[in-house]
Amino acid sequence: MSGRKSLLIAAAVAFVGLAGLPASAQTLRYANQGTLKSLDPYTFKESTTIAHHAHIYEGLTARDKDLKIIPALAESWETPEPTRWRFHLRKGVKFHNGEPFTADDVIFSAERVRATGSNFLSNVPPDAKFIKVDDYTVDVKLDAPNPILISQWDTWFIMSKKWCEDNNSIAPTPVSATTPSFASLHENGTGPFMIESHQPGVKTVFKVNPNWWGKPEHNLKEIVFTTISSDATRVAALLSGEVDIIEPVPVQDIGRVDSSPNAQVLKGPELRTIFLGMDETRDELLYSNVKGKNPFKDIRVREAFYKAIDVELIKTRVMRGLSTPSALMIAPQLYALSKDFTRPKYDPDAAKKLLTEAGYPDGFEVGMDCPNDRYVNDAAICQAVVGMLARIGVKVNLNAQPKAQYFAKVLKPGGYNTSFFLLGWTPSSMDAHNVMHDIMGCREDPKDPTRGEANLGNYCNKEFDALTDKVLVETDTAKRNQLIKQAFEIGIKDYGYIPLHQQAVAWGVSKKVKIPLRADNAVLMFWANKTE
C-alpha cells in the first residue's frame, strides 16, 4: 500500500519536474495524403501545398485559429476611400537569406502573383494597382469598391524581389518551362520555418527560423513532412508512432485511432460543402432514357430528388457521424445567417408523389458522375444516393471515376459533360459571393463571362444573379447578409442544387502533440507543441 503510494508520489514529482523544465525543442513528424509539389508559392492553388508554404512564407494578412483575418506582414491597414486601401508594413522583418522586407517586395509580389503561370490570379484582383508610398507603406487603388479585397491575401505570400531577380525567378515557373525553376526548389520567405531539405513528393524537412519576427507558439526545432498517400499506411504510421500527425484520417479509421493508446483524432467541421447538381439547361439529358425533354427542367423532379435523399442516414452510415447536413451551399462558419435556414425534410412518399405529378410515375433512368478519390467517401455517398433514388423508382447509372477523369469530363473544358453529379466547393474567398457567382450564377452571361463557370448543371435564375451583383458591391455587412439570404432563399425554392453536407476535418494526432484544428483543414504546425 505504502509502496504504491510512494510510486504515485514519485510519478507526480517526475511529472511536475518535467512540466517545470523548459520544453526542449522537438522534432515533429507529419504525414499527409498530398504532396508538397513545389516551393514556389504561386504555382499550386491547392490546400496542402498552401498550408506548407504558410510555414515558410507569409502574406500581408494571415488567418488565426478561427480563420479571422489578422495582420501579418502588414501591421495594419485602412480604407481612406472605398477604392483605396493603405497597408502599413511590419518593420524589421527579414527574409530567410537576411534581406530586409520592404514595400518593393510587396509591389513585386503583386506583379508576380498576377503574371503568366501564376495559379493565384484570383487572389489579387486585376484592377488593383499597388503604389509604394514609402518603404513601409503601400497603397492599393481599385476601380470599384471591393469589400472582400483582402479575403484571399493570407494565401498570397510575399516573395523577395531581389532574390527572385537574382535567381531568374521573376515570373512564376510556367508549366511549359524546360529548365527547372529555382523558386520551385528553393525558398526565401519570412515565415517561422525554413526548408532544410526538400525532395519533391517524398519528404521535406523544415527547421525553425531563429530570426522570425514573431513570438513562436510552438516548441519545435524541426518538422519532418512525408507524403503517405495510402490511407491504411498513413493510419498505420500514426498507430505505430512513426509519425505524430496525419491528415486526413479516413472516417472509418477514426474509431481505431481513438481507441489506440498513443493517438487520437481531432475532428471539426470543414468549410467544403458537398452537394448534388443536375443538368438543368439541356433540352435533352446526355445520359437518360427520357428522350425529347429534360426532366430536371421540371422543378418537381428536382424537389423529388431532394426529398428522396436522406442526408441524416448518409451522415450516420456513410460519414459515421462526421458530417454536418447542410441546407445551404456554403458552410455555416462562412455565413452569419446560416442558422435561419433548415433543410427540407426527407420524405420519400412526397418525392414519389412529385415524380408522379411530373409525369414519371415509374421513374426514369439517369447517369450520374461522381469522383472516387476527391472527397471524403465520395463514391460511397454517390452509391447511397443511387440506392435512395432507386426507392422512388429512379434508376441511376453511377459512373464513379478518379478525379483526373471526373474533372476532365464535367468541367467547362469537358463541355459540362454530365447529367447528374456530386461536387464539393469551398469558397476560396471564404465568402458567399464566390458561391453565388461561381456555382449558382447563370452561365454565359455576356456581361460577366466568368459567372457560373463552375455551375456544371447551369442552375439559372436572373433574379438570383441580380442579387449576386448587389452583394459584390455592398459594403454594409448586415445589409449584405440580408441580400445573400434573399438569394439563397431563391436558390432553395428553385431546388437548383441539393446540398448534402459539410464533411469533417479529421486529423490523427499523437497524444504527445497539441495542435489547434482549423476549419480550412490547414495543418499549421507553428502552433504545435510536442511533449517528450
Partner: protein, 326 residues
C-alpha cells in the same frame, strides 16, 4: 558476339521508339492535365492559357514530334506538378525502385529455388505440398491486401518494422542507397516480401517443373549410372540445367517486378519511380508518365540483353550459334 550485341541493341532502340509512341498515344486518354494544375474555381481563361503554354492545343502530330525529339535527347520535359525536370526526378527516384526490385528478386530467387528444388526432389513429401500451398496462398490475395496485412502485423501490432518509406539513406554520388543503414534494411523487408512473393511462387513452380523435367533426362540417368553421388547429380547437374530457363524467366520478370512495384511502392510509400508514376497518373502529369514508361522499357531491354548474354555464358550450345554470323 559483338554483332549479336549490336543487333540486339538496334532492336532495343526499335522497342523504345514503339514504347514511346504507345506511351504518348495513351496519355491522351489519361485525363485533363489542366484541371489538375489549377484550382477548381480557376477561370476558363486561366485554363486556356495553361493549355496553350503546355502545347496541348497543338495538333497531335506536332506534339508527338516534339516529344520524340526531346526524348531522344533524354529530355523528358518538366513535370507539371513538381516544375522540375522529369529526368532529375527519375534519377532521384530510380535507386529506390531498383534496390527494391533487386532485393525482391533476390529474395524470390533464393526462396523460390530452394522451395522449387525441394518440392521437385521430394515430390510427394508433406513439406513439398506445404510449400506449394503457401506459395499459392501468396498469389491468391491482391498485393495491396498482403502489404496492408504485413503492415498491420509487423508495424502496428508488433512494432518491429517501419510501415512506410526507405529509412535513412546514404548518398553515393547521385545514387541514394538504403542498404548502408539499419533503418534502411528494416524498411526494405516488408516491401521486398510483398513485391517478391509473386515472383517467388512463379520461380518455385518453374524450378519444380524444370527440375522434374531435367531429372527425367538421359544425362541424369547416365550420371546415376556413372555412380555419381545424389548430391552431385541433383545440385551439380540437374540444378544447373534447371537454372538455364529460370534465368530467362527471371530476367523477363524483372521488368514486371518493376511494373508491379507501382502497387507495392504505393502501399509502403516507397519513394521510387512507381510511386512517382502513380502520383503522375492521379495528376495527369504526362511528362512523368511518358518518361517513366520509357525508363522502364529501357531497363527492361537492357535486362533482356543481359539475360541473352548471360544465357550464352551458361549454355555453351548457344554460344556457338551466336558467335557464328547469322
Amino acid at each position: 558476339m559483338l554483332a549479336f550485341t549490336l543487333r540486339r541493341a538496334i532492336q532495343a532502340i526499335g522497342v523504345m521508339i514503339a514504347v514511346g509512341i504507345i506511351a504518348f498515344a495513351m496519355f491522351r486518354f489519361a485525363g485533363d492535365p489542366v484541371s489538375q494544375l489549377v484550382a477548381i474555381d480557376a477561370s476558363s481563361a486561366e485554363r486556356a492559357q495553361i493549355r496553350q503554354s503546355l502545347g496541348l492545343d497543338d495538333p497531335f502530330i506536332v506534339q508527338f514530334g516534339r516529344y520524340l525529339f526531346d526524348a531522344a535527347q533524354f529530355k523528358f520535359g518538366v513535370s507539371y506538378q513538381f516544375r522540375q525536370p522529369v529526368s532529375d526526378l527519375l534519377k532521384e527516384r530510380m535507386p529506390a525502385t531498383l534496390e527494391l526490385a533487386v532485393c525482391a528478386t533476390i529474395l524470390a530467387l533464393f526462396f523460390g529455388i530452394i522451395m522449387g528444388v525441394f518440392s521437385a526432389l521430394r515430390r510427394d513429401s508433406l513439406m513439398a505440398k506445404l510449400f506449394q500451398m503457401v506459395s499459392l496462398i501468396g498469389i491468391s490475395l491482391p498485393t495491396f491486401l498482403i502489404g496492408i496485412l504485413l503492415i498491420y502485423l509487423f508495424s502496428v501490432t508488433l512494432g518491429w518494422l517501419p510501415s512506410f518509406g526507405r529509412g535513412d539513406v546514404v548518398k553515393l554520388g547521385w545514387w541514394s542507397t538504403g542498404l548502408l543503414t539499419l533503418s534502411g534494411w528494416k524498411a526494405l523487408i516488408m516491401p521486398s516480401i510483398t513485391l517478391g512473393l509473386f515472383q517467388m511462387t512463379l520461380i518455385m513452380r518453374l524450378v519444380r517443373a524444370e527440375m522434374l523435367e531435367v531429372l527425367r533426362t538421359d544425362y541424369i540417368r547416365f550420371a546415376r549410372a556413372r555412380g555419381l553421388t545424389t548430391r552431385a547429380i541433383h545440385f551439380g547437374h540437374a540444378l544447373r540445367n534447371t537454372l538455364v530457363p529460370v534465368i530467362t524467366v527471371v530476367g523477363l520478370q524483372f521488368g514486371s517486378v518493376i511494373a508491379f512495384s507501382i502497387i507495392t511502392e504505393q502501399v509502403f510509400q516507397w519513394p521510387g519511380m512507381g510511386l512517382l508514376f502513380v502520383q503522375a497518373v492521379q495528376n495527369v502529369d504526362i511528362p512523368i508518365m511518358a518518361a517513366y514508361l520509357i525508363m522502364v522499357s529501357l531497363i527492361f531491354v537492357t535486362i533482356n540483353l543481359v539475360v541473352d548474354i548471360l544465357y550464352t555464358v551458361v549454355d555453351p550450345r548457344l554460344r556457338a550459334t551466336i558467335s557464328r554470323p547469322a
